[in-house]
């Protein structure tokens, strides 16, 4: 029995060994996995640690994540404390010096863009606030450009032989994406000044980009689930000061948004939030196509 067990274990170890691509990328969120796909192509092997249906704040340091981080050459995360509840532990347990914070194998996207809503006072009575500012940067496509640039630089550092290929892919991505951004801004022009209610404060970059107006939040404090009392307050506010839609992310429960939508007679809009959040958000371009299409549809359909 022990002999057979040893053979079984050895076989399993061999078959479970990771496929050897040039660079193993561990992406904390789907948007960074999609970006790594664009910049790395088949020169990299990508593992997305979370799906679009998961709340990136609320992930657990599962054994599978630790095993994948062990094999990673590059970790790309949002940073700004978004993954503070799981990544520090994954990194420590993975025992992988290649992805140590501060080294070339550890990239926090939020360090490359200017963050909004940096709290002046850090106190947990304010809810689940992030000391560095709002971490949900991927809702503004312009934030992806500097991240793509840094990502290609890091990939080139780790895999010097293919540095030129990464640079070329990044340049192609930047050109295509800049064009797309111009197109989105044009299409989304009617959304300027449109007043909205958001479920959680994770749309600030999108709102700033498109010039929407955030009138209220369904959560009384960031990270605190909406209570009945607070929802009634929001309802009273939107009755006296109407909004055009209620926005929630695909990973969030739609219940509170739908409750308010029914009573305020405005549509509740589910946005993908990241790649794969909704069926029409298959890649980074699709993510913003879908986001803007859904916003426009809601804005032109006042009754919901």
């Amino acid at each position: 029995m022990p002999f057979r067990l040893t053979i079984a274990l050895a076989l399993w170890l061999m078959t479970a060994a990771p496929v050897t691509a040039a660079v193993n990328v561990f992406a904390c969120e789907p948007e960074w996995a999609a970006l790594a796909e664009r910049i790395g192509g088949d020169l990299v092997s990508i593992y997305a640690a979370t799906t679009a249906k998961q709340d990136p704040h609320q992930v657990q340091a599962r054994p599978s994540l630790i095993a994948r981080a062990r094999a990673a050459d590059l970790v790309i995360c949002t940073g700004a404390e978004l993954e503070v509840g799981w990544m520090p532990l994954v990194l420590r347990q993975a025992a992988n010096p290649r992805i140590r914070p501060g080294g070339p194998g550890y990239l926090e996207a939020a360090t490359l863009v200017s963050l909004v809503e940096v709290p002046s006072v850090l106190d947990r009575s304010q809810g689940d606030v992030h000391a560095d500012g709002n971490p949900h940067i991927q809702t503004d496509p312009r934030n992806l450009l500097p991240v793509a640039q840094e990502l290609s630089r890091r990939l080139g550092q780790i895999d010097a032989a293919n540095a030129a290929a990464y640079r070329a892919r990044q340049a192609a991505f930047a050109a295509e994406f800049e064009q797309a951004i111009a197109r989105w801004q044009q299409t989304a022009a009617p959304l300027r000044y449109v007043p909205v209610v958001v479920a959680h404060k994770n749309w600030s970059y999108l709102i700033n980009w498109l010039g929407l107006r955030e009138e209220a939040t369904l959560e009384p404090k960031p990270g605190v689930p909406p209570s009945g009392g607070h929802l009634s307050d929001v309802l009273a506010r939107v009755r006296s000061d109407p909004v055009r839609m209620i926005i929630h992310a695909a990973y969030e429960s739609p219940r509170a948004a739908q409750w308010l939508a029914e009573r305020a007679r405005v549509p509740a809009v589910e946005l993908p939030f990241t790649v794969g959040g909704t069926e029409d958000a298959r890649d980074l371009i699709g993510l913003f196509d879908a986001t803007i299409a859904r916003l426009l549809r809601a804005a032109s359909n006042p009754s919901g």
């Binding site: 170890l13 599978s64 070339p104 840094e150």
Partner: protein, 456 residues
């Protein structure tokens, strides 16, 4: 401004419309200014990036510049907050935070957190810490009646340098005073998936052993932990872990300890305790995950006393652990379920009160905790111990199990105000002793300051 008096005097519909229009225009101007500021900021950052590229071109080897240049530019842009929370972020402390907070010594402060616990307990019978049939350690109590401050702990952690991480937990135990619960240094820079940890720490055996008590699902430890490990096995020693390079999580660990803690005794002629464990785990689809482990602990006891009885000899303990978690689509925020169970087998050989003794003892528990809606959890637990029958010469001693197996059934209701505040109500139908004890606990656990991520 001039429109205001006219509003108070004769506010016609036209006036109101004009005011609305003016407000809208002002708002529009504000937004446009904002957009212009953003555009300028963007240009600045682009220029910054170009400058960076030029600079890195001049430096002979760009790879050797350790702090990512991008980090320092970000710091310049956000001078008041940049990297300040490095101290508040356990585990993310090393790295590009130096040089940005000129002269501020506190920037290097470790992450500091405190966990406060308090319990109100009601027992239908006097608390009786004996468990007939089993020798127990000093910590293996069911607690005090009435109000009591549970274990209060202060945790400090930070990277030492680019090769080490260190963590210390000071606890205020029930008996009073201050105790160093854990104080260890751990490597972060070893190759091949190796980690070495040294100092005082909770052993990696079992599933619950390594977790701090405030992270447990139930207020009190399960019977096997309470009786066979004196609630938790921690000691001074060294640990080596190896994480196999497989896609599937597979971890091996070996430990050597000073050998002072129960089931060993401080006076064991310098004989140490040794432990080993192997753990594996993974996912089934997006919604299911699991962790399984096998552990072994060997300890030597010299005149280990419980009540008036003493044991001298070797103690071997094996633990099999299994944890399963369910979260729909991998998102636990709304609903989730955790099933956890462990089986203990202990073999102690030596002399008991001078009599030759060879005892086989078993213990197991299984519990389920279900979060049925955000912030609310329900739990149920069963735990039990049993021992192989001994000869008549042990009748009347601590090892006399009085012909029955100690067991309990527990129920739990938990409400959390946030991830930092937990309030729990627990009931134990406790039949560890001969007469049933109905135990009710009301407990809070709050965490302030930096709070490290919890283990799976």
């Amino acid at each position: 401004m001039l429109a205001v008096p006219s509003l108070s005097l004769a506010a016609t519909a036209d006036d109101l419309a004009a005011i609305r229009d003016a407000i809208r225009q002002l708002e529009q101007r504000r937004q446009e200014d904002q957009a212009r500021i953003e555009m300028l900021e963007r240009r600045l950052s682009d220029a910054d990036a170009q400058l960076r590229t030029v600079r890195s071109g001049q430096v002979s080897s760009p790879a050797s510049t350790q702090p990512a240049p991008s980090a320092s530019t970000t710091a310049m842009r956000r001078p008041t907050t940049a990297n300040l929370p490095a101290a508040a972020r356990p585990g993310v402390t090393s790295g590009p935070s130096f040089g940005t907070r000129g002269g501020s010594a506190s920037a290097f402060n470790p992450a500091i957190g405190a966990v406060l616990q308090g319990t109100f307990s009601h027992f239908s019978r006097d608390p009786d810490n004996r468990v007939p049939g089993f020798m127990v350690g000093e910590e293996a109590t069911i607690g005090d009646r009435g109000f009591s401050l549970g274990e209060t702990e202060i945790n400090l952690s930070a990277s030492v340098d680019h090769l080490f991480y260190a963590e210390a937990t000071l606890a205020h135990p029930r008996e009073g005073g201050v105790e160093v619960e854990e104080a260890f240094v751990q490597t972060t820079g070893l190759p091949w998936g190796l980690t070495v940890k040294g100092g005082r720490f909770f052993s990696g055996i079992g599933y619950m052993n390594e977790q701090h008590s405030h992270a447990w699902d139930f207020i009190d430890p399960a019977l096997p932990y309470r009786v066979m490990l004196n609630t938790q096995y921690g000691d001074d020693g060294i640990q080596l872990r190896w994480l196999a390079p497989t896609e599937h999580f597979l971890e091996f660990g070996a430990e050597g300890f000073r050998g002072d803690s129960f089931p060993a005794t401080a006076t064991n002629n310098g004989k140490g305790s040794v432990a080993a464990f192997v753990r594996t785990g993974g996912d089934f689809g997006a919604s299911h995950s699991w962790l399984a482990g096998l552990s072994y602990l060997h300890a030597d006891a010299d005149n280990r006393a419980t009540n008036a009885d003493t044991f001298t000899g070797g103690s071997d303990l094996g633990i099999a652990s299994l944890v399963y978690k369910w979260a729909p689509g991998g998102n636990p925020s709304e609903r989730n379920l955790k099933l956890q169970g462990e089986f203990f087998y202990r073999d102690e050989d030596g002399t008991f009160n001078g009599l030759a003794y060879s005892g086989r003892q078993f213990g197991w528990y299984a519990h389920a905790v279900f979060q049925f809606m955000p912030q609310w959890r329900l739990g149920a637990r069963y735990d039990q111990l049993s021992a192989r029958a001994l000869g008549a010469e042990f009748a009347g001693t601590t090892l006399d199990d009085l012909g029955r197996n100690p067991r309990r059934v527990s129920g739990l209701l938990e409400y959390e105000t946030s991830e930092f505040g937990r309030f729990r109500l627990q009931y134990n139908h406790d039949r560890a002793t001969q007469e049933t004890n109905h135990e009710v606990f009301l407990n809070y656990v709050v965490s302030i300051g930096a709070h490290g991520a919890h283990k799976y």
